[in-house]
């Protein structure tokens, strides 16, 4: 009985191993591409918020996002940036005062951090598709009162 495997057997063993280096390369590239694409959205929309469907293809800027949905007539929940969700009922005369105060506070931070003059005063509003027009108007008025004048309504394709 031979001490070492024959050359033929050795060759067979080598052939049995699949060379996965190129496969690994391809997978790594795909993985990096997918991770990059996954994190490329300029606005993070929380699961409960469902923007309206539209055909516009105007790209969005990476600015402060306000997410709003209506939970009852004249009652909303909202999120500013990645802050926790808050609820508010609309005041017939004053509108959404708590949201305005929160946006006022956020405006100071935003103005201090944004360097591009074009983006100053810009805000992305993710409004749930089911929101009523009157509530939308109330939200927009509060946003404008907080000196965010460049209003971008976010849509999905």
């Amino acid at each position: 009985m031979p001490l070492y495997p024959s050359k033929r057997k050795e060759k067979e063993e080598e052939e049995a191993d699949i060379n996965i280096t190129s496969l690994m390369d391809a997978f790594t590239i795909i993985l990096v591409f997918l991770i990059k694409q996954f994190g490329s959205s300029a606005v993070e929309v929380a699961e409960a918020y469902r923007p309206p469907i539209a055909q516009t293809r105007l790209e969005i800027d990476r600015v402060l996002a306000l997410q709003v949905r209506e939970v009852a007539k004249d009652a909303i929940t909202y999120r500013i940036g990645d802050k926790p969700e808050k609820a508010e009922r609309r005041n017939a005369n004053l509108g959404f005062q708590q949201m305005k105060a929160d946006l006022d506070a956020e405006k100071k931070v935003v103005d201090a951090t944004i360097t591009d003059e074009k983006l100053k005063g810009e805000i992305n509003i993710v409004v749930d598709a089911s929101l009523s027009y009157s509530t939308l108007m109330g939200v927009m008025q509060s946003v404008a009162s907080a000196r965010f004048f460049k209003i971008k309504l976010i849509t999905q394709p």
Partner: protein, 197 residues
């Protein structure tokens, strides 16, 4: 001769070349094979935007800037609860075109199935936009690209948004989407109240 004891190892001829230790890539491969389908199955949504404004009180432009010589068009559109569209302050549109009906303003009625006639609205507004200048440059008007929109308070935002698409962009050819469309009314003002003349 005294010296080292003879080695107990047997001579086995030529020593075989050492084999390279292979990296165990199975763990990484398993991880990647799980991550790729997981990432692919995650819904990646691209979001887009519509720029809107609230009605401004007066204005007058920057000092030293050449002021438009003409009065503003003040074009207004009301979305009706019955999916009709009423256009107010149109300069060139008339019911005689057959495209619209005469009412308190000019009316684009809904389709027979009750759905809003967005394509007709787009065609009507394109005609108004292109013909109302009367040969003058757009700069001679204060609001050549502006339209004010209002809707009933209880109307869902989705319905308003559908109309905004057709106000903002000119019609596109078959098989094309709005990414290739020219902008028609780039300044859209959402008005909280009912619009009048």
């Amino acid at each position: 001769m005294p010296g080292l004891p003879p080695s107990g190892r047997k001579k086995r001829g030529k020593r075989p070349p050492e084999r390279e230790e292979k990296l165990n890539l199975q763990v990484i491969m398993n991880l990647i094979c799980i991550l790729i389908p997981a990432l692919l199955s995650m819904q990646i949504v691209d979001y887009y935007r519509h720029d809107v404004e609230l009605p401004a009180r007066g204005g007058g432009g920057a000092p030293g800037q050449a002021q438009p010589t003409n009065r503003p068009f003040n074009l207004k559109l009301t979305i009706g609860a019955d999916n009709s569209f009423m256009i107010v302050n149109a300069k060139v549109l008339s019911a005689a075109d057959g495209l619209i009906e005469q009412g308190p303003g000019l009316l684009v009625p809904p389709q027979p199935n009750g759905a809003p006639n967005l394509k007709r609205l787009q065609a009507v507004l394109l005609k108004e936009k292109t013909q109302r200048l009367g040969g003058q440059p757009p700069e001679s008007f204060p609001d050549p690209d502006q339209i004010t929109v209002s809707a009933p308070g209880d109307m869902q935002f989705q319905k308003v948004m559908a109309a905004l698409d057709y106000l903002r962009f000119e019609p596109v050819g078959p098989g094309k989407d709005f990414s290739e469309a020219k902008e028609m009314f780039s300044v859209i003002t959402l008005s909280p109240g009912a619009v009048g003349g």
